[in-house]
């Protein structure tokens, strides 16, 4: 089991971490990756409405814990510089009930603004205009007071795509990644996936390529990990922040009310592998609680997590993941 921590020990340890300068232990030669899990059931107002204030608190406390700073603003500033252009990759495939929520994206954007990033340099995006709109976002590509919002189909054309070849991947990467953003936040949701097993931070980047369906045939686990390990993604990815306010544990990726829980949870980490590993365990817990077999037993173990760990993107070793519950 990954080591868990309660709120009190977190505050103590966060101060210690700050003093010792080990904000990202794994990066700095330490042994652990921090995954912060902030939870407040009151964040859910009704099935598709979130309390903006509570969400902001959850986002801030999770990020502060993940970065090892006592004050959220310091944590955000440590991750992003004022001149950064930050792409927030949402996952809006499954409609308003099971997509990255606009309130969560809004909280992230507000935190970035507080850290000095200009609204015009904050870009919430996903693959298709249709889907991101359906999930409750408004497309706006200029003059935004809070953040810009766009989709890759608006800019896809054969003259504006950069081809990525890496391992299993042979795809065009969204110009939003390659040409607009200097930094990325993966803002996935946490859900079961009929092919990959789990959709979380790494799989979220399938929305950054033009042909994700091609990897549904074979080697999809390799493709998911390769994409996250590819230079354009990993060199920009600074934070994974999972909107687990709602979690689907079966029959994903579409929204199925009968298989969806609403724990009001936000999970943050700088280690995308550790975060996906913890997310997977949360899904397994829910599956067990509802009498479902583990994903490995139904042939859907998310093997891409282990593969990404082997490639050095992060850790999936429970002994090296420090979970901070807030």
């Amino acid at each position: 089991m990954a080591r868990e921590m309660n709120r009190r020990t977190f505050i103590t340890n966060a101060s210690l971490a700050l003093a010792a300068g080990i904000a990202r232990a794994a990066d700095d030669g330490g042994e652990s990756s921090i995954v912060a899990v902030a939870r407040n059931a009151k964040a859910i107002v009704d099935p598709n409405k979130l309390d903006a204030k509570i969400i902001r608190e959850l986002v801030d406390s999770a990020v502060a814990a993940a970065v090892g700073e006592a004050r959220p603003r310091d944590a955000w500033r440590k991750l992003f510089r004022p001149h950064d252009r930050v792409g927030i990759k949402s996952n809006t495939l499954s409609g308003p009930m099971l997509s990255s929520h606009p309130r969560v994206a809004g909280a992230v954007a507000a935190a970035l603004r507080d850290a000095g990033v200009k609204p015009g340099n904050i870009i919430v995006w996903d693959r298709l205009s249709d889907e991101i709109t359906r999930a409750g976002f408004n497309i706006r590509t200029k003059n935004a007071r809070d953040y810009l919002c766009m989709a890759t189909d608006g800019r896809y054309s054969r003259n504006s795509n950069d081809m990525l070849e890496y391992g299993e991947i042979g795809s065009f990467l969204s110009p939003i990644v390659t040409r607009l953003c200097t930094a990325l936040i993966s803002l996935p949701i946490l859900k079961d996936h009929d092919l990959a097993g789990v959709t979380c931070g790494m799989k979220n980047f399938f929305g950054a390529i033009h042909n994700p369906n091609k990897y549904h045939f074979a080697n999809r686990h390799d493709a998911i990990s390769d994409l996250s390990c590819s230079r354009p993604i990993r060199s920009r990815l600074r934070l994974t922040l999972c909107d687990a306010t709602r979690i689907s544990y079966e029959a994903g990726p579409g929204y199925k009310p009968q298989y969806t829980e609403r724990p009001g949870m936000i999970i943050a980490s700088r280690d995308p592998v550790a975060l996906d590993f913890v997310g997977w365990q949360k899904i397994e817990e829910l599956r067990a609680a509802h009498g479902r077999k583990p994903l490995a037993k139904v042939g859907r173990e998310p093997k891409f997590i282990e593969r990404a760990a082997k490639k050095g993107l992060g850790t999936n070793d429970p002994g090296k993941i420090r979970i901070i519950n807030i």
Partner: protein, 413 residues
């Protein structure tokens, strides 16, 4: 951590865009036009003519990512629990969760119902299609010298690393410039361009099956034939149904080894061979193209085995075209196929008893390569003299050899 791959900027891609159909890329305005804009455009003079033409409907509405008919239900699928479906159109047999797409990227599951996103959405040419010589398909035994109105949509059910049309075949319909071109409009355009047939081509028509089928029906009613230019990766039942409305088929047999199909195509050889047998059973006119990729599928033993198989299962009169590969898409590390290689393949196939074996993409001006022309299988006299897609002379009369009267297999005037 490994290096993290190679990012090839778009500016390098654009230089690679050769030998392809003319695509819809926004050279025609990608928006519908208001009356006021139309008048302004007309007043603007010559450069506004394409806009004016579009506004009066001479060319279909076109827009990037436009999915004009998103609610056309797919014809071949089965419902599974939890709103999942299994697509039964092609051998991939994708099991698709709610809100997900199948491997071809242009079929979507919404609430347990499966839809095609490309019906009526051709994405090539100025008006949604290209009037092209039938020889270009290539179909050498199908109404020579006529033109075929060629349409395509986004998407494909395999992932060939050497695809020439990857920027429509390997993308979604949201990423191409689409024309609002339902079947009747396709037929009208084909007539306007004086085409004798409609070709479903460029990407992979299997994945726009419903569009192809409905267009073929409309074409037949108007006296226009239909030909499918395909990889043959389709299940038997839909293929048999399709044979009822098609007049000719060209199948890309990409190799004769499962290894090639697995590594370079992302599919399987077996189902393609099954399709060829189905076409023979259905008495459909078909020709086979074998793109010779240096070092990957040019082994003389494989060519021999394939030729024997064709002889045994399909007979000696099926035209077989060996064509030259040129480096493209994800297979740019190879040279063009030497003409001597395709000539050798032709010799092997003819040695096994095949009567109509051709070479293609050989650019043998001014007189053409002997392997481009058709000779009577009985008397051996040259019947159709071709240079590339150009027919210099045609001595097939009423489907027979003008010299000895032997019936020449194919679809003739």
């Amino acid at each position: 951590m490994e290096e993290g791959g190679r990012l090839i900027p778009a500016c390098m891609w654009s230089s690679l865009l050769d030998e392809r159909p003319s695509f819809s890329t926004g050279d025609v305005m990608p928006v519908r036009m208001s009356r006021r804009n139309f008048i302004a455009a007309c007043a603007g003079g010559g450069c506004a003519l394409p806009l004016a033409a579009q506004a009066i409907g001479a060319v279909g509405d076109i827009k990037r990512g436009g999915i004009f008919y998103p609610d056309k239900e797919a014809r071949y699928y089965e419902k599974l629990p939890d709103k999942r479906i299994e697509c039964t159109l092609c051998p991939n047999r994708c099991k698709v969760g709610d809100r997900e797409r199948g491997g071809c990227g242009v079929r979507i599951n919404r609430e347990g119902k499966y839809y095609t996103l490309v019906w009526g959405n051709s994405c090539v040419g100025r008006d949604g299609g290209n009037p092209a010589p039938i020889e270009k398909k290539p179909l050498f035994h199908f109404l020579p010298t006529t033109r075929s109105y060629s349409i395509a949509t986004a998407g494909c059910n395999v992932t060939c690393k050497f695809c020439q049309n990857w920027d429509i075949s390997q993308v979604w319909a949201e990423q191409t410039f689409n024309h609002d071109l339902p079947p009747k409009a396709v037929v009208a355009n084909a007539k306007r361009h004086r085409c004798r047939s409609i070709a479903y081509t460029y990407s992979e028509p299997v994945i726009f099956y419903e569009y192809m089928y409905d267009t073929a029906v409309a074409g037949r009613a108007a006296g226009i034939k239909s030909v499918m230019i395909s990889n043959g990766y389709i299940e038997k039942e839909p293929m048999v149904e399709l044979c009822k409305v098609l007049d000719g088929v060209k199948i890309d047999l990409k190799a004769f080894t499962e290894e090639f199909y697995e590594k370079l195509v992302g599919g399987k050889l077996g189902p393609v061979l099954d399709t060829l047998v189905t076409l023979r059973e259905q008495e459909m006119w078909f020709e086979i193209v074998y793109l010779v990729v240096p070092t990957h599928n040019d082994d003389p033993d494989d060519i021999k085995r394939m030729s024997k198989w064709i002889m045994k299962e399909l007979g000696p009169h099926v035209p077989l075209h060996f064509t030259v590969f040129h480096p493209t898409y994800r297979l740019k590390n190879l040279p063009r196929t030497p003409v001597s290689t395709v000539a050798r393949c032709r010799k092997i196939a003819m040695g096994e008893g095949l009567k109509y074996v051709y070479v293609g993409n050989v650019a043998a001006w001014p007189d053409g390569d002997p392997g481009e022309s058709t000779s009577c299988h009985k008397c051996g006299k040259k019947l159709i003299h071709r240079v590339g897609f150009l027919v210099r002379s045609n001595k097939v009369r009423g489907g027979k050899c003008a010299y000895c009267g032997t019936k020449i297999p194919g679809v003739w005037e």
